[in-house]
């Protein structure tokens, strides 16, 4: 196979050609209420060819693996069509020629667990939620593990075989009383095994208590607040607030955005350090090589408050005269790689939690996450639940906390960064340009942000 793939992409009439073949096996287990909802197995076999001719790209994806020569020819023909209409220049940043075979290193291999064994663990969690008692009336448990064998070859001589594992899930407690349904979720995820699924009992109890507390909790009053954000939500915040804007495919052909995103520009205080890393082992965002075969590493986006880097594909790095970072990713063989995050995070600071809340007269402690969205300089992130801070102390639980901000102000308004640090993984993932969900992770300490606009009930 190795020799065949290499021969397919070499000596072609194109500036660059790559081929990716992918085989995956996925197990899915879902409970909804007391009953098992779904237990499924899924197999995928597919591949794609991408070709570059004079700055124009052709891309062909397929799941019939015969006639690969024809797929290569079609990708080149399409790239040439683009180039003929609009001749440009192919400029890919140099990347090392890699020859590697990567085996997954796992703590507890889900492939060695029987379906019955996995089901039993999850069933236990499901029962735990249902036995919590009123107002918890229902539950959801979702779980998947996915093994991928990926073969990649390009016309520069790189050939990589990678084994990847992606595992994710969540246990959701659902509370209901008098027409009001509320819920809270405990997510988990891993790139190195099943161990992350074990020992969640205390966290699940916490999710049940918090879902119960949301019943009868008032909707937060709309307005501008000082907000303390827990590590889970802070992870979503940094992903939405700065991660997406750092993706260089927004920037490389946009001269005005290049000015806005000039390296060295100050975006926050000297205590603010933001990074995106491919080599944090164990989290879902871990990957040794991206989908262009580029080795990943840790990329600082903001160091001591100043912009120092961005997330590149070989094309965006080449056009901007910067180095490759290993951020070109595709959710699967059906899509070409584009600039994406891996594990994005804020580095810990020095503030203990008590220090962060003690001088807040009226504020909000926002926890856990439903997700977020970004567009241009603006972003939103939605908390799972929240607690009012009154006169320096945690007070009543409130619900429906969606926060918004813009990159030019909000990062500067981060005035305290906690000394703790945790990882956020879940069953979901990141979406961009119709490619969702992509396995990304978030890591962060608690952070404090002043002047955050929050939706809610008008005062």
């Amino acid at each position: 196979m190795e020799a065949y793939l290499e021969q397919l992409v070499s000596g072609q009439p194109a500036d660059y050609v790559e081929i990716r073949l992918e085989e995956t096996e996925t197990t899915t287990i879902q409970f909804r209420g007391p009953a098992l909802d779904n237990l499924a197995e899924s197999a995928v076999l597919g591949g794609c060819v991408r070709a570059l001719v004079k700055g124009g790209w052709g891309f062909v994806s397929f799941n019939r693996l015969e006639d690969l020569e024809k797929k290569v020819a079609l990708a080149i023909e399409q790239a040439r069509l683009v180039a003929d209409r609009q001749p440009g220049e192919s400029r890919l940043a140099p990347a090392p020629v890699v020859r590697d075979k990567v085996a997954a290193v796992l703590d507890e291999d889900p492939r060695r667990l029987t379906l019955a064994a996995k089901k039993e663990v999850l069933e236990g969690y499901n029962r735990r939620v249902l036995e919590f008692g009123p107002p918890i009336v229902s539950s959801r448990v979702v779980y998947f593990d996915k093994f991928t064998r990926l073969r990649f070859a390009n016309s520069e001589g790189t050939y990589i075989e990678q084994e990847k594992m992606d595992l994710g899930g969540a246990v959701v407690a659902i509370a209901h009383r008098a027409g009001d349904t509320q819920m809270l979720s405990r997510g988990f995820g891993s790139s190195n095994g099943f161990r992350v699924v074990r020992g969640l009992e205390a966290d699940i109890d916490d999710a049940c208590r918090r879902a119960a507390a949301l019943i009868d909790a008032p909707v937060v009053e709309a307005g501008e607040y000082t907000v303390v954000v827990d590590p889970l939500l802070a992870g979503v915040f940094v992903h939405e607030a700065f991660g997406h804007l750092s993706e260089a495919d927004n920037v490389y052909e946009n001269p005005s955005l290049q000015q806005v995103m000039t390296l060295g520009r100050e975006f926050g205080g000297p205590h603010l350090n933001i990074f995106d890393s491919g080599d944090l082992p164990g989290v879902r965002g871990y990957l040794k090589y991206d989908d262009e075969g580029v080795p990943t590493g840790k990329t600082y986006l903001i160091k001591e408050g100043k912009l120092v880097g961005r997330l590149h594909s070989r094309e965006t790095a080449g056009r901007m005269g910067e180095g490759v970072t290993g951020n070109a990713r595709a959710i699967d063989y059906r899509f070409p790689p584009i600039c994406r995050m891996r594990t994005t995070g804020i580095e810990p600071g020095e503030a203990p939690f008590e220090e962060m809340i003690k001088d807040i007269k009226l504020g909000v402690y926002a926890r856990s996450s439903y997700g977020g969205e970004t567009a241009g300089e603006m972003f939103t992130f939605t908390a799972g639940d929240a607690v009012m801070i009154r006169d320096g102390k945690l007070a009543e639980v409130v619900r429906n906390v969606t926060l918004t901000g813009n990159v030019f102000e909000t990062l500067k308004n981060i005035d305290m960064i906690g000394s703790d640090f945790s990882t956020r993984d879940s069953a979901g993932g990141c979406g961009k340009a119709r490619q969702a969900p992509l396995a990304t992770s978030m890591v962060s300490p608690h952070i404090r942000i002043r002047k955050v606009v929050m939706g809610g009930k008008a005062r």
């Binding site: 683009v82 609009q86 379906l115 659902i174 209901h176 972003f379 939103t380 813009n406």
Partner: protein, 451 residues
Amino acid sequence: MTASITRGRTAFAFDSGALLAKARKLGCDQAEVYETGVVTTPVNFENNHLKSVETAETAVVAVRVLKDGRVGFATSSRAGDEGVVDMAVRASEFGPEATFEFAAPSPVPEGLALYDETVADWPQEKMLAVGQEIVDHVRSLEDGVLGGAMVEKYIGYTRVATSSGQEVCADGTAYLALASAELVEPDNMIQVWRYSASRRLDLDVGAMKADLTRLYRHSRHNVPFRGGRYPVIFAPLAGADLISPMMACVDGMAVVKGESPWRERTGEKLFADHFSLYDDPSLPWGIRTTPFDDEGTPTTRRPVIEKGVLRGFLLDLRSGKALGQASTGNGYRQVPQSLPAPRASNVVAEPGATPLADLIGGIKEGVFVERLMGAWAGNPYAGQVSGNVHIGFKIENGEIVGRVKDCMVTVNVFEAFRDSLLALSRETQSAPPAAVLPYIPLDAVSVSTKA
């Protein structure tokens, strides 16, 4: 029974008959084979120029079996794969209890509009010309504006066959056109989009360009805005975020599982008289128009909310059985690899009689929201929708006067559609993924901004 629908030009990737026979041989009591094959060919323009031309071909088969009282489910994209039946049988050993049966033979509606030769025959050259026209237009708006466009056509088929003898197949086409304009200033960014999609090639590039121009011009000037309660007009793109909690609450499985707050409320008046919402799988050329759902059950247009009254739930085979009712033909798979679950086809809200211009003209001070950001995140069963106004404008004395930024709107749709729903527009527009909505004005919406 095979529906008499024109076969397109996509060859079947799997042999349903062989898969059903294999399931029978392996001792399954019942089996269902769903397969879909799709070819999409997008052309992409980014940053004012043609960037890529693509071809994507996928086929997936999904098999469900009932064996020894349990359900097994497996999917495969390995062309011609018969191993998928073994996988399903293996899964059935630990699978959920079988509480329902697969679709029995039943005729599906004929003559629905979902396959258009002109989409199938749409030449790449024409698709490229559409993209180029959009990008050229966007560039002409102002120096420094970056235009983007994606033009795509889709040709595919869906086939469902069950061991009880239901066998249905339909070919479908669709096009999708996306147009965007982006401007970056030192501390201000503008991104506006326009979207058009249909199973028929009824693309009006001129209208897309005109809409994009209007949105761009309105966005060009930011105006200050103070938080409070205001009348707000939600354009269809934003309106879809308001409708989505309602669709979550009529999901039959959410009803069965006790998650939906509406489970005891069928026949009750929940909303204002002038609000009616339909699930319409027969909508001519609708993006989700289909004669049968992904379980092979015939589909039919049905009211979800009629004159404010909750009419019923969207059911698949499982949730229908659990509620003692028949499937409503709403068993759809979110992606071919997912289990069928209750889901809407085309969601259509009945328009009103008031021209949009009069709706805007009647507002002294308020907001026009084109698109919300982040409003999908949150608990749908509580009816709370909270989002950043990504593209929205201030209305002052009946006129749009400029863009509002850094501002959030929060709506409890359960209360607002009952108490504060003003007259709906007579104009409708489609919004992704498959809604056709009028402009929805709500009174006294909570709007929060910077202090």
